[in-house]
Structures are given as C-alpha cells and as structure tokens.
Symmetry: C2
Subunit: 232 residues, 2 copies
C-alpha cells in the first residue's frame, strides 16, 4: 500500500463505527480516510481515502475490545471562542473529567438547542473515543471549542452564570430566557474560583447531594432554559 494523503496528526481524530461516521458525514465534517477491515464496508459519500486493512489490524487500533470493522480519521474543525460571541446559550464545561458525563452533556446541549460548548483546559478531550461514543454523535452537531483558558471566556461577551449546590437563585426562579453562558464545574471541584461568575444558579432537588451528577444537572438547566424561551 503506497503513501496516502490522509494525515493522522493532532488536528484529526479517530471515529469508530459506521453510525458515528455517518453522523460525521451528515454534519459535513471532513472525513480524511476510512480504514476498512476485511469484513467491513466504507460509508459512501465522504470523498475520503479508503484504506483496506489486513486481518486483525483494526483490533490493534480501535478503543474497544470487539471493534466495528470500520474507523475513520476526521479533521477537527478550527473554532475559537469568538465564534460563539453573543450566542443565545453557551455551556462552559470547567474541567469535566469523565468522558461519559461530557458525552451526555453534548447530547443534552444538542437536544436543548445550545449554541455551543466551551471546554476549559483540563477537561477531558472531546475527541476521545469514549466521549464521541457517549455523545451518540452529538459532538458532530454542537459546536465545541476545546482547551480554552479562563481569560478567553470574556470573548463570549455573555454573562457567566455558575451552578452551585449551595448558593444562588433556584434555577426554576431565574430568568433563563436572555443570552448567557452556563458554567458547569468539574465533578470533583465545582466551578473554578478564577472564573469571574456574574451570578449563580442552584439546582434545588430532593434526596442526597450526590443524587445529581454534572451531566444530569446540565440536562435539567438547559431544558429549563429551552422551556422558558419557548414560552415567551
């Protein structure tokens, strides 16, 4: 097999399995190459380089024990915080560590029509295969800006609204219909002290403190924002 034009560098990531690759293509992401195991078929319509793999090669590069017979190299789009400046609703993920949590957050952000998601440096890589899988393809449909320093948040030109278990206005009593950026803190540490939060929301709930995780809390707040905005 000769030299191919596909680049697998830090500007690209691996997408595993037909369903996710189809989502990437449907959302117009740049699929550079598809690597096809002997029992696989490439997804049509990507214009990507197709590389046939020898038997048992895909097991060595895929992230799961029983990989699907197809992986793709997909280019990471160039985005900056200012692309989201003045958007109606942005979610800022402040060092969210768990891939499953970030994936679920991307799903609820897509479902609630969030304009984009900003990941503060220290968050899990959104192009990690576990995040892509947990997002069920939402990663391809919600603009994500990763590896952002705290002092870049001002470029959003949005009020920064933090969530807290112990301070602020109940999220159900707050006016969530105006543009804002919702800052969700890490599982372990909450919202960083260094983020210049303009106001705080608290998610009033019953049960133990641990009963809601950051992904569920995000889901609850972005859907309340969607509800308030639809009602206006």
């Amino acid at each position: 097999m000769g030299r191919r034009s596909a680049r697998w560098d830090e500007g690209a990531f691996v997408v595993e399995g037909r369903i996710l690759i189809e989502e990437a293509i449907a959302a117009d992401w740049d699929v550079e190459a598809q690597f096809v195991a002997p029992n696989g078929e490439p997804v049509a319509g990507s214009g990507a380089t197709i590389v046939d793999l020898a038997p048992h090669v895909i097991e060595r590069v895929a992230s799961t024990e029983s990989p699907q017979p197809l992986i793709a190299i997909v280019r990471i789009p160039h985005r900056s915080v200012s692309d989201l400046a003045g958007a109606r609703l942005v979610v800022v993920a402040d060092r969210i560590a768990d891939p499953g949590n970030l994936g679920t957050m991307l799903r609820s952000c897509e479902a609630a029509g969030v304009s984009g998601v900003v990941l503060i440096t220290g968050s899990v890589d959104p192009y990690n295969p576990k995040v892509v899988r947990a997002s069920a393809g939402a990663l391809f449909h919600v603009p994500v800006v990763a590896d952002i320093a705290l002092n870049e948040l001002q470029a959003l030109r949005l009020p920064l609204v933090g969530t807290s278990s112990h301070q602020g206005v109940a999220y159900t009593d707050a006016d969530l219909s105006e543009p804002f950026a919702l800052v969700m803190g890490s599982e372990a540490h909450g919202v960083s002290d260094e983020i210049p939060i303009d106001s705080w929301l608290t998610i009033s709930h019953v049960g133990r403190a641990e009963s809601l995780n950051v992904a569920m809390a995000t889901t609850v707040v972005v859907f309340e924002a969607l509800r308030q905005r639809a009602a206006r």
Copy 2:
C-alpha cells in the same frame, strides 16, 4: 471457616465497595454479610456477619476487574405495587435494558423526589452490579418494585401517562402537579402497546431524534414535575 447464617439466594444481592455498602446501611437495608479481602475493612454498624476472604478470592466474585476489597450480601426488601398505590409520582420503566440508563433514572427519581419506580418484567435487574453502581446508591433511597406484569399496574391507582417522541401534549404544557405514573418505554421499542395509557406526553426538543436517551428524558420530565409542584 464454619457454616455462616448469611444466605446468598435469589432474595439477596451483592453490593460492591465501601461507599455503596455505607449507603445501604444508612438507608436501613438488611446487610447480611460482609466479605473482606486481606487489605479491606468491613463497614461498621451493619450487624452483618463478617467473613474474611483468602487472598485473590474477591477478584473471582466481584464484577469489576480491580474490585474494592469489600463486598456485602444485602437482602432485597419485599415490596409490591400496592405499596405505591396513590403515591404522588411513580415512574414505570417498561423493559429498560441498559444498566446505565436504569441507574441514571434511579438517580434522577431520587433527586426529584419520585415516590417509587416500577420495573415491568423484561427490564434489567435493578440489583445488577452495574445498575447499583450507576445509581450511585440511589437504589437504596428510592423504593423499587421489580418484575411487575402489565396487569399489575392498575394496583397503582394512578393515571398512566406515557411518553412519546411523536404524540401527546408537550411536557412543558401539561399539568404535572397532580399524582400520576410516568411510563418510560424501552430504548428499542418505546412504551408497550399493551399498557393502558391514559394520556401521552411528548418531550419537545431540538436536534436529532436520538439526541435524548430514556434516562435523560426521565430526568427532564421528573424535574419539570418537581418544578410545577414546588411552584404551587
């Protein structure tokens, strides 16, 4: 080691790790025995039989690759549908198959103050270690009634409100403040045709149909019910 009084039969299940065992004890579940690996310590206060394990035994019985050095046998409480009769809000899980989804549903039900969760026959076992783990201990705090036939639902004496992606009143427009049972259908098949649904809710959202899974949908609706009830 002589014969012990702990019974590990179909009326009991295994709880792995100190944090979950502490939750079981705090919630007054009947811990029959704690099995302690050489580097472990039993949780105090359970009154359970303590069994010291030889090295490497716990790896053979635990469900994870690197188990914590402590597991417990906990008795499943006897509950029936009629225990939830006339409750304010019950969630009926109709053949939910994924342990992570059911665990998350239990968490949001706890957080939203749901009175109990009814699992239709064909749902994943709520005492499966993956469900217990994904519930983050919520299983011990929300009454769960498992393996229920469809014709037992009438014993709830509650209107059965189904959720659907394509029919019914928007959940944000419905009155969720009166007592009802929320029926959440399986990931693959939705709500069973045989359940005599009294009315339908639809979860209006943006994005693709797949963007919300059953656990997130449950979270959204039970928190809207909590919001409406708190506002009254």
